[in-house]
């Protein structure tokens, strides 16, 4: 399989290079880079990029979303060239956390960032990113190791003397070029990390001019400008392979906040039959086209609970690759439900893409809940609490059954169901 694969990719590369040279010289990028099959990882031409890893199943290039727990449920990470859509929770409390995790992971891994927002200045967003947890502890352990190293080498092991022969363990902290880090929400990211990183900001009120622009191609002017900005950055910085002199490849992480909200000039959240109803879907299509032809990954947060037209939500979901929905318990009747007393909300992984494959990595766990602790944002499997009451009455069992039905029909991309029976 490996031999056939390499010979296949050999012919593919020559074919596509000839085609690219003859047809258009704008993008000579062989999309084989981020979409390479497992055989290509042995190819010496591909340099491994910091902060990425190859998927176990099909060799897909993956980046971390910043939350190792979420990476695990998404099949190892977010594939390069795809869009991660976060359906915001009702009061927009937890989705900025996921957004910030994604950007912080980009800074720590050394990727380039592109932050677009209509509400907040990107520079302010970057100031509020969480600090990586290992950075401080690693420095502390390094200092301790230096002073304690000499003492430890003199102590000989009396009982487990075989282990004396083993090399000393480093203590575990991964280097910053590893995959997936933990972050401390209570602390801010150190300033020097932001300054050393390469980031581009798009703040809509600055970019949009006061004069009224005639909208062309049915996109609102905010979306149009954002697409042109993204395309500009991708082309100039060479993320689409158009600059072959650059030796070190890097990933561009794009983060767009509150897409579809009225701040972007889109009235999809305001009315059921809006004029520019195709604006958001067209934007997502062009964004997908840009991402597939470049080494970039994108996170967008959309307030889907405000969109009144259910058809638009379905179309937006179809045009994105990975869709994660957040449902927080604040303000709903679930807040006082004894089922959910340990958690702050539910996470629904609505869609995972099948890329270069007929199947995908899907976890068996469908009911996931999240909890915001003091320093961490954790995602766990939803456990029903044990029924510890003395008299197990029928009414309490019915309440539990009712609440269990509200958990939702599970993963929508494999099957929808009228009844809630997973087996």
């Amino acid at each position: 399989m490996a031999a056939a694969g390499t010979s296949g990719t050999g012919t593919r590369s020559t074919g596509s290079m000839v085609a690219a040279a003859s047809t258009n010289n704008v993008t000579s990028f062989q999309r084989r880079g981020p979409r390479a099959s497992g055989a290509d990882s042995g190819c010496s031409r591909l340099v491994s990029i910091a902060g990425t890893r190859r998927s176990v199943r099909n060799g897909q290039l993956l980046v971390s979303t910043g939350l190792p727990a979420l990476d695990q449920f998404l099949g190892g990470g977010l594939a390069v060239g795809t869009v991660l859509l976060i359906e915001e929770d009702k009061y927009n409390i937890y989705s900025p956390l996921l957004f910030n995790y994604f950007l912080a992971e980009g800074i720590v891994s050394g990727h380039a960032l592109l932050v677009a927002s209509a509400k907040e200045d990107p520079a302010d967003i970057l100031q509020k990113l969480p600090a990586p947890l290992i950075d401080h502890s690693y420095k502390k352990e390094c200092d301790e190791d230096i002073c304690g190293h000499k003492m430890e080498s003199d102590i000989k092991m009396k009982i487990a003397w075989r282990y004396q022969l083993f090399p000393k363990m480093e203590g575990g902290p991964v280097l910053s070029s590893g995959f997936g880090h933990d972050y401390d929400i209570s602390k801010r990211i150190p300033q020097e990390l932001i300054e050393t990183s390469k980031w581009h900001g798009f703040f809509l009120p600055e970019k949009i001019s006061s004069t009224f622009n005639v909208e062309s191609c049915s996109l609102t002017s905010g979306y149009m400008k954002l697409l042109q900005f993204i395309q500009n950055i991708i082309y100039e910085e060479g993320f689409d392979g158009s600059n072959p002199q650059k030796k070190q490849k890097n990933i561009l992480r794009i983060g767009i906040q509150n897409l579809g909200s009225p701040l972007w000039g889109d009235d999809i959240c305001c009315a059921e039959n809006c004029d520019a109803s195709h604006s958001l879907t067209k934007f997502l299509y062009i964004l997908r086209a840009l991402l597939r032809t470049s080494l970039s990954a994108c996170i967008i947060t959309v307030p889907t609970h405000l969109i009144q037209n259910k058809a638009v939500i379905a179309r937006v979901t179809n045009l994105s690759d990975t869709v994660v929905g957040l449902e927080s318990f604040i303000g709903s009747e679930k807040e006082t439900n004894p089922l959910y007393k340990d958690y702050h909300g539910l996470i629904h992984i609505r869609q995972i893409p099948r890329l270069n494959n007929l199947i995908y990595d899907i976890s068996d766990v469908k009911d996931l809940a999240f909890k915001l602790k003091k320093k961490l944002f954790t995602i766990e499997r939803l456990h029903l609490p044990p029924d510890l009451s003395d008299t197990v009455s029928r009414s309490s069992k019915q309440d539990l059954a009712e609440s269990a039905k509200l958990l939702g029909p599970g993963c929508g991309m494999t099957a929808g169901g009228k009844k809630h029976l997973d087996f």
């Binding site: 086209a289 469908k366 929808g416 169901g417």
Partner: protein, 355 residues
């Protein structure tokens, strides 16, 4: 090695057939008592309690009654043929269910692939590799994924899309790549995806011109390819891009008139069923196409939700859109599980995980 009806009768009469070097499970000839089973299709079961049929080669069933065999012998044309062991690639089980082989593919048909609450793209991969193996000239309008995605999956199914493209058998319109070109670097000459640049709902005339250009039969004398085939993945994304459902139906109508009627080719397209999301445009498109198509394959999720071993249910409906339907259109339902390189189909309730 193909086996014959005569060999089967000899076996039944107690005599071993002359050559039987291939282990062939004996088919079930007992007529099924349930109403759902199509009696002419002996091999297919419906999973009902008193249905004794089984889908080959999963559960060999050994009841063979001479009287029923004779009745089946008299009408051999309505039975699916024995599965050819040497067939590789595509999804051979789906070929059996559809009663087609790459050599004997029908012509002049519109096939509608539809998915509801699940991902039906495996059907697109199947038909792409099927028609490439059938030596047909294929025009593939790939709007939703990149070319390398289809290529890599195609390699798992045994066809190389790049090789097909190089020898001229396959013409691909990559929606994503050329969409970026059209959008950011507009030029004067018409482009198949010109509607991306237009403000109001455009029509798909340039796209039709592209298809016509790609599948035009070349009058070079030698018939290089069997029949032209148009494959679209998928039509629902055109609705998201601002094209109205009537314009999409017009495009399909033009393609059908040219490709199916005039050039005796086939058209296959994938549409998403929006279900209960009240998407009127999608419903108009789906209903319009359903009435025009000869074969509808509908992939839907199980009614009870997610299952690890059964990924969904496939409904196959054979229709005759131009003739008055004197009798009921034939329809069959199977459940499927998608694996790494193939898809396995089984009767309802006959999943190997459950048995």
């Amino acid at each position: 090695m193909p086996w014959s009806w005569e060999a089967l009768w000899e076996w039944n009469a107690g005599k071993k057939p002359a050559q039987l070097s291939v282990q062939v499970p004996r088919p079930c000839a007992r007529l099924c008592a349930c109403a759902e089973c199509d009696r002419s299709a002996r091999f297919i079961g419906c999973g009902q309690r008193n249905c004794a049929c089984a889908l080959l080669p999963r559960v060999p069933v050994w009841w063979v009654l001479p009287s029923s065999l004779r009745s089946i012998r008299d009408s051999p044309s309505s039975h699916p043929g024995p599965p050819c062991v040497l067939e590789l690639g595509m999804f051979p089980e789906l070929n059996n269910l559809l009663n087609t082989t790459p050599e004997g593919a029908e012509q002049g048909k519109l096939t509608l692939l539809c998915d509801a609450k699940t991902d039906g793209s495996f059907l697109v991969h199947h038909f792409l590799s099927f028609y490439l193996k059938a030596n047909c000239k294929v025009c593939f309008v790939a709007l939703i994924q990149s070319f390398s995605h289809y290529n890599i999956v195609g390699q798992k199914l045994g066809v190389s899309l790049t090789a097909a493209r190089e020898r001229g058998q396959l013409v691909v319109l990559e929606g994503l790549k050329s969409g970026v070109d059209v959008f950011f670097r507009p030029r004067e000459e018409p482009h198949p995806l010109q509607f991306l640049r237009e403000a109001n709902a455009g029509d798909l005339q340039p796209l039709y011109a592209f298809v016509q250009d790609a599948l035009q039969p070349v009058d070079s004398g030698e018939a290089a390819w069997r029949c032209p085939v148009l494959l679209v993945d998928d039509l629902s994304v055109l609705l998201s891009l601002g094209v109205g459902p009537v314009a999409v139906l017009d495009f399909v109508h033009y393609c059908r008139a040219t490709v199916c009627q005039e050039w005796k080719g086939n058209v296959v397209c994938l549409v998403h069923d929006s279900g209960d999301t009240e998407d009127e445009e999608s419903d108009v498109l789906l209903n319009g196409l359903s009435h025009q198509s000869h074969l509808i394959l509908r992939a839907e999720g199980l009614a009870t939700g997610f299952c690890k071993d059964v990924h969904g249910q496939l409904r196959i409906l054979w229709r005759r859109p131009l003739q008055p339907t004197t009798h009921r259109d034939r329809s069959l339902t199977y459940q499927y599980k998608i694996q790494d390189k193939s898809v396995s189909f089984f009767a309802k309730g006959m999943s190997p995980a459950v048995l």
